[in-house]
Symmetry: C2
Subunit: 393 residues, 2 copies
């Protein structure tokens, strides 16, 4: 089989706000080869990611992503890895390339799994898909009372783990933050797993981040996520050295290649490495990070704030790692993220989830569900149309 | 003054080839504020960089670059730094943002310099613009004879330093590469400064890179540039530890933030840090790298393969560093790179160059020269035009 077509569908809510909610838009990717169709999803900035696929070439190592994909052979996982290496080299100077390629790579795994009648996790070498404990990922409330209510709602919805992030946290004093941590703990209950996400708010300021540690330990938080900028490995490392035996550091969603994830482990000293398959270049590089994490005693966790297609993709790289139990679950996404899939990764009676035991990623796309959110994109250079939204069927 | 308008002009050669020549296209940036106009240039992928400026917002930390620029106050260098920080945070999830912002940032410095009647290097705190030894940057020939001829032409054109890169190098055996190094040395003459650029060809393979070291030392090469992928700091470090007292490592053009350059120094052990202002986020971050390099005994070098506007911008961050003597000079760019500026950074009687002693970047734009290369871009979302090429005057 050869890659015959790659189409991108830009979906968005009618109104997009500045809240840190990544489910306000989505870039759905459809790949066709040999009579099969695979689906993937890019994590962010649909228009820019589309442009990175169709842009005219700038020079030999600044080629559009399409140049390393269209017409290429797709028979087995090695073909996907070969395309990954080609994209990395040929689109070296195109910063957006990993984001664009991520969704295409996912779709290629989905297609290959469907062609073989196997789930992607089996193609990755896993014997079974282990159950994971999903955490509800929500934003901190504007005040502690709101945080408390959100935590209670998570718990009432059957989640024993809850992550709270962004919103006011890190913008005021350590004491104000502490009140939110206490509220989150109270809402989750004493046995809930409490996870806190700082959304890079401290830049590289280790002291400001460290001021929050006593309150995090007092609230029994399991991890402190992304206190610093994505590349600030030394700041991570310095904070890691100040930790007691309580809270540990988590990070990795900003990794757009395996190197970045590796540095967060080796220099940053994170205890949890969080990988978004829609960003790191897809499922293959994420699996490589999972292997390295498992070998070094670091826990792998998916990063997913969007659809159940992205959720299934993000579970695959560590589906068979029994001891890596926690997973992010988009508990309250915007309607569009639920609208464009026809099925979901369902929680079982214990409230746990697992990567689907179905061909490919095991998620069906609902064109009718997607259509109300579909945006019509058209890009022309010198009057020539280099992109226009295809028919979504 | 407030930023009133930012316009992008995509220029390209009629035919763009896969050779590693970054001067085949250009993205010129025009910024207007308070009656002044400043010009900058983004390094790569014009269409994608334009998209990153105009794209609809995805969420709070995936905003278009425009959101942190348009309407902002621009009175002094701190205002530029503040916009840089805003872009970094607000466009966190937009990978292409640093490439886009780089050209805008440059244009803001140019504008501020013109408004104050001062060269940018003076705004950066330097007392004078020191002369630099330009090296001619050319591609290796397809065979050693061609490399020899290119080296002779460089020398004949008055360059006592020459950099050779890409082409066949690293793709065959170490012995084949050695013949090119010998040819380059012969063409440059015994007193010429010989620089070798591997164009990331070895990925992370330290052994394959190390095989080239004896021949590089024998040819008296000053540096070995970019043997590995941009994030492969450990590979750089491992190779650095294998160096004798001859050739040293160079790298940094891939750095799209200060962290990456810092890691190449601290982990990668480079002796020369090469910064492209069209990529690292502009002149401000490049100056920060120059300061850190100077403090740690590493030599700062510009990376510039395009126009004299980009060249002037790239000289500013280390204009006043007397001991950092070498600079990259685009000796054989494509015609478009010379066409869109009305003046150039000229070599003096000693064959040396310096950042212009003129307001801003000291480079005039030639709209008439640019026009034959101008490409007409139009981007629509839901029938609304979010970008169309403005009038270039």
């Amino acid at each position: 089989m050869r890659v015959e077509a790659v189409d991108f569908f830009y979906l968005s809510m009618p109104e997009v706000t500045t809240e840190a909610d990544g489910s306000q838009d989505a870039l759905l990717v459809r790949v066709a080869a040999g009579g099969y169709v695979g689906w993937g999803e890019c994590e962010a900035s649909p228009l820019v990611s589309i442009a990175a696929f169709v842009t005219p070439m700038s020079h030999g190592v600044c080629r559009p992503v399409s140049a390393s994909v269209l017409g290429r052979e797709i028979e087995n996982p090695d073909d996907i890895a070969r395309m990954s290496a080609e994209v990395a080299y040929n689109s070296m100077d195109l910063l957006q390339a990993p984001h664009t390629w991520s969704g295409v790579e996912m779709a290629l795994w989905d297609l290959l799994g469907k062609a073989r009648g196997e789930p992607v996790w089996r193609l990755l070498g896993y014997g079974r898909s282990e159950p994971k404990v999903p955490y509800a990922s929500v934003l901190f409330g504007d005040n502690p009372q709101e945080t408390l209510e959100r935590a209670r709602r998570s718990r009432a919805a059957g989640f024993r783990a809850g992550k709270f992030g962004w919103g006011p946290i890190g913008r005021g004093s350590a004491r104000e933050d502490a009140e939110h941590f206490v509220a989150a703990r109270e809402g989750l209950g004493p046995d809930g797993l409490l996870l806190v996400d700082m959304g890079q708010i401290f830049g590289e300021d280790v002291d400001r981040a460290a001021e929050r540690l006593p309150a995090l330990d007092a609230a029994g938080a399991l991890w402190l996520e992304e206190p610093f900028a994505g590349h600030a490995y030394e700041a991570y490392g310095a904070l890691a050295r100040r930790l007691d035996r309580g809270v540990r550091l988590a990070g990795g969603e900003a990794a757009h290649n395996v190197h970045m994830a590796r540095h967060l482990i080796s220099i940053g000293g994170v205890g949890y490495i969080q990988i978004d398959c829609g960003r790191i270049g897809g499922i293959g590089p994420a699996k490589q990070v999972a292997d390295e994490a498992a070998a070094t005693g670091v826990t792998f966790v998916n990063h997913t704030f969007t659809s159940h297609l992205a959720l299934s993709a993000s579970l695959q790289p560590y589906a068979g790692l029994e001891d890596h139990r926690i997973c992010e679950f988009p508990a309250a996404p915007k309607p569009l993220a639920l609208a464009f899939t026809a099925n979901y990764v369902e929680r079982n009676a214990d409230g746990e989830i697992a990567a689907p035991d179905a061909p490919g990623l095991g998620i069906e796309i609902s064109p009718d569900g997607a259509k109300p959110y579909l945006r019509d994109v058209r890009i022309e250079v010198d009057g020539r149309v280099i992109f226009k939204t295809a028919k979504l069927t």
